[in-house]
Symmetry: C2
Subunit: 319 residues, 2 copies
């Protein structure tokens, strides 16, 4: 790498902070952040390691974009608006200039698309794999954040978009043979998840509880149920799965337990079904009712005849 | 490691968040943070890699404590009060339970001492060295943060505490032979830096500019001068250096360019000297005037006769 630390910050990172007065041109000890009046801040932090959370040979632009997008998905799940982010980068010696430039281009495109800017962070050397951590800040009107803990027995369970596609994209990257024209959109879903920010915002006051599907549908629904103190039954036949996915072996398992979809999973009162359906039309985003909550605990998946379906490993564990 | 991800969070990390309602018991997608009325948030983020920023064999309690303390020092340099922190941990497979428990004990002691709590974060596996990133959040009355950019020509330059001791402690850890009773306090200064939070708070409205000494006196004064558009002259004889340090070879170089002291370096109007001296007495903390700023740029160090002293490598660079 021919960039020294200060040139990397000055030439590549500083432009990412240009619209953020509180970033103080990345030249101070910390950043200043003021949430809009009547709003509280929402803060999430993720860590990503090359070879674990992305492939070391993945294009840097996609790695940068995904690092921001998965954090933005956490804001979406809280019903929050993006504000800014901090970035910690641990770079192996010998990281090439072209990689850094491409990485910064990925940040730039993604922050422009979602309306946030760089606030600060840290860049260090590592003898290990490239490791990065994003802290994203957003804001939400006070007391109106969507939480995992608000589901009530008898709620309908909804999910946005289509399930299993990102995980299938990952299976393809790992060697699953699928014709190219089918593979590409699935791989794109893995590399470029779409944080459902507009949906999250619109669900404030409508959803009782929400979470984003990052570990897998069953695992994340389990988190939501535990936090809310309810049980859930999911109907396999109602899962939003594309015809494309249905043509690939083990698609049911992938839709139920595959991670990385970053769709929103939420519950709402049955009486609010028309409002959820109207929202789906307004946003041009499929919202599918996939089951119900009940008193009790645990997540069951049933087939069209109401028979319980066995689920293998319920989802991604981080270690 | 016999803790799984969820047991690690539930049993070890969750108690660290017990006093933070906005942490949502570490059970949601993000944390909620509300700065007190009339305050803005101050946010800093650092990354630390085993073998680079600390020794892999350092006690986990000290690693955890230092990770928090260096971030708190960034808040001190802004005149901010601590509020909470997020933690991203990338753990090598085979990290021992005892290490994790000891690490959490270090967080616990340090957060209790400085009045902050855990808000959230992420724990992942890494094939590389243990890597951690802390994001610290604090607050400061609106518009009153201390910045690096406020120094004016003719200011006096002050520094808290004593210089060079942490860097000397590091030299000792790397093999410099020093009698044990002299070595121990220096090594402690390296492992347990003291964030100067009370000083930072008291300097609001008194200091024109401030920074913490993490990269080394000359390097950090250089950052402050560049941001403020001023030059600085430091008088070598006025540097606060202990007799202990003066007995060790190359002590001048260590005091000028060694990092990790985490003392506050600030400038103030000469007319405010009595106020700074009163503050030193109130806090029981030495504050030493080490030089002056002037119109121009660059940092010069001069000896008792006013002759310029050559400085070698001006300080730590991160890569």
């Amino acid at each position: 790498m021919s960039y020294g630390e200060f040139a990397f910050i000055d030439r590549l990172l500083k432009p990412l902070a240009a619209d953020m007065p509180g970033a103080l041109e990345l030249g101070d000890d910390a950043a200043l952040v003021v949430p809009p009046a009547g709003h509280e801040l929402v803060v999430a932090k993720d860590a990503l390691v090359a070879g674990v959370h992305f492939f070391a040979e993945d294009p840097a632009r996609l790695v940068a974009g995904k690092a921001l997008r998965v954090n933005l998905s956490d804001l979406a799940a809280m019903g929050a608006e993006p504000l800014g982010y901090l970035l910690a980068l641990a770079l192996p010696r010998g990281t090439e200039d072209a990689w850094l430039e491409d990485f910064v281009r990925g940040l730039e495109e993604t922050q422009a698309r979602f309306g946030l800017g760089l606030l600060g962070g840290d860049t260090v050397a590592t003898p290990g794999p490239l490791t990065l951590s994003v802290t994203v800040l957003g804001h939400v009107p006070e007391g109106r954040a969507l939480l995992r803990s608000g589901a009530r027995p008898g709620d309908e369970i909804w999910v946005s978009g289509r399930l299993g596609e990102a995980a299938m994209g990952l299976r393809i990257l790992r060697g699953l043979a699928v014709p190219d024209e089918e593979a590409m959109p699935l791989v794109a879903r893995y590399h470029i998840p779409e944080p459902r920010l507009a949906l999250g915002r619109a669900l404030r006051g409508l959803a009782h509880a929400a979470i984003d599907v990052s570990d897998g549908l069953v695992a994340d629904l389990g988190h939501l149920c535990r936090r809310s103190g309810v049980a859930a039954t999911v109907e396999l036949e109602r899962l939003p799965v594309s015809d494309l996915l249905r043509g690939i072996p083990r698609w049911r398992q992938t839709a139920l337990t595959g991670g990385d979809d970053y769709e929103l999973l939420f519950t709402a009162a049955p009486a609010d079904r028309p409002a959820v359906e109207a929202l789906s039309r307004d946003l041009g985003l499929p919202l599918s009712c996939i089951g119900r909550t009940a008193a009790g605990e645990g997540v069951r998946v049933v087939d069209a005849e109401g028979r319980e379906v066995a689920i293998g490993n319920p989802g991604w564990r981080h270690f």
